[in-house]
């Protein structure tokens, strides 16, 4: 995996981790609208970064959550356990 791809992937991982952590916090603090705004901002940035990544390197998610124009790229390696960071 070249450094451009790896950096984009790391950006996605960081943004999605932010979403995971805010999500768990919001589950027990659903009335915290400041946290909700941060969650939504991270979620938007995540969606944009994923779109950029997927256009270059193929779908990140299966079952219709990411489109696969031209070719079925879902089966392409590397899988997460094969990625060298």
């Amino acid at each position: 995996m070249d450094s451009k791809r790896l950096n984009l992937l790391k950006k996605i991982m960081a943004l999605e981790f932010t979403c995971v952590d805010f999500n768990l916090y919001l589950d027990t603090h659903p009335e915290d609208y400041r946290a909700l705004a941060e969650y939504n901002a991270a979620s938007e940035a995540l969606a944009a970064t994923k779109k950029e990544y997927e256009a270059l390197y193929g779908p990140l998610t299966n079952y219709g959550h990411s489109p696969s124009p031209q070719a079925w790229r879902w089966i392409e390696e590397p899988w997460p356990w094969e990625t060298t960071f």
Partner: protein, 190 residues
């Protein structure tokens, strides 16, 4: 419904083959306080949770634990995939090798297979949430012992991330327990 994402929750890098370290880390894959047990415990308890926050917390933490299971599997896979047989024998992983080669299997650090007796689903939400808080503390302790046993700084970095998540999960379960108590008190008095 679950969907799969072709990425890890946190990066995994290993310094090189290290079957000795793999042998102990695998307990967080299939051991009593490991990620499979955590995930299945929360995902099966969620059906009988009485309040919306608790249903969401158990679904979401149960799902995050699946991602942790994948991180632990990736660590173990990469620590044994290029290990020479001689090193596997020296690490005491020859028994594991006889049954599984270098494949992933759910065992604890001494080779005992995963069992559903590691988890409980009691139907009483207070009891279940106390079990989950204890489970998070046990997982945190295990990650601390693994960090002490690790001689690979890259592996330790990933283990520290996983340890930190157990602390956050403990916090969220504690908040959920308070919300369940409030709900039960309301039911009693009104």
């Amino acid at each position: 419904m679950w969907i799969y994402e072709k990425k890890l929750e946190y990066p995994v890098r290993v310094g090189g083959p290290n079957p000795r370290l793999a042998k102990v880390i695998i307990t967080q894959y299939g051991g009593p306080d490991g990620e499979l047990a955590a995930s299945l415990r929360y995902l099966t308890q969620r059906y009988t949770m009485p309040i919306p926050q608790a249903k969401a917390v158990l679904t979401d933490i149960g799902t995050e634990e699946l991602a942790h299971m994948e991180i632990v599997a990736t660590l173990v896979y990469n620590l044994i995939k290029d290990a020479p047989l001689e090193e596997i024998k020296r690490a005491g992983l020859d028994g594991y090798y006889a049954d599984h080669d270098r494949a992933l299997y759910f065992v604890n650090a001494s080779g005992a297979p995963w069992t559903a007796t590691y988890i409980q689903s009691k139907g009483d939400p207070v009891t279940d949430l106390y079990e989950n808080m204890a489970a998070e503390q046990k997982a945190r302790s295990t990650y601390e012992y693994l960090i002490q046993l690790s001689d690979d700084p890259d592996v330790s970095d990933t283990l520290k991330f996983l340890r930190e998540r157990e602390v956050v999960h403990f916090q969220r379960f504690g908040e959920t327990l308070n919300l369940v108590h409030e709900y039960m008190d309301r039911k009693k008095y009104y």
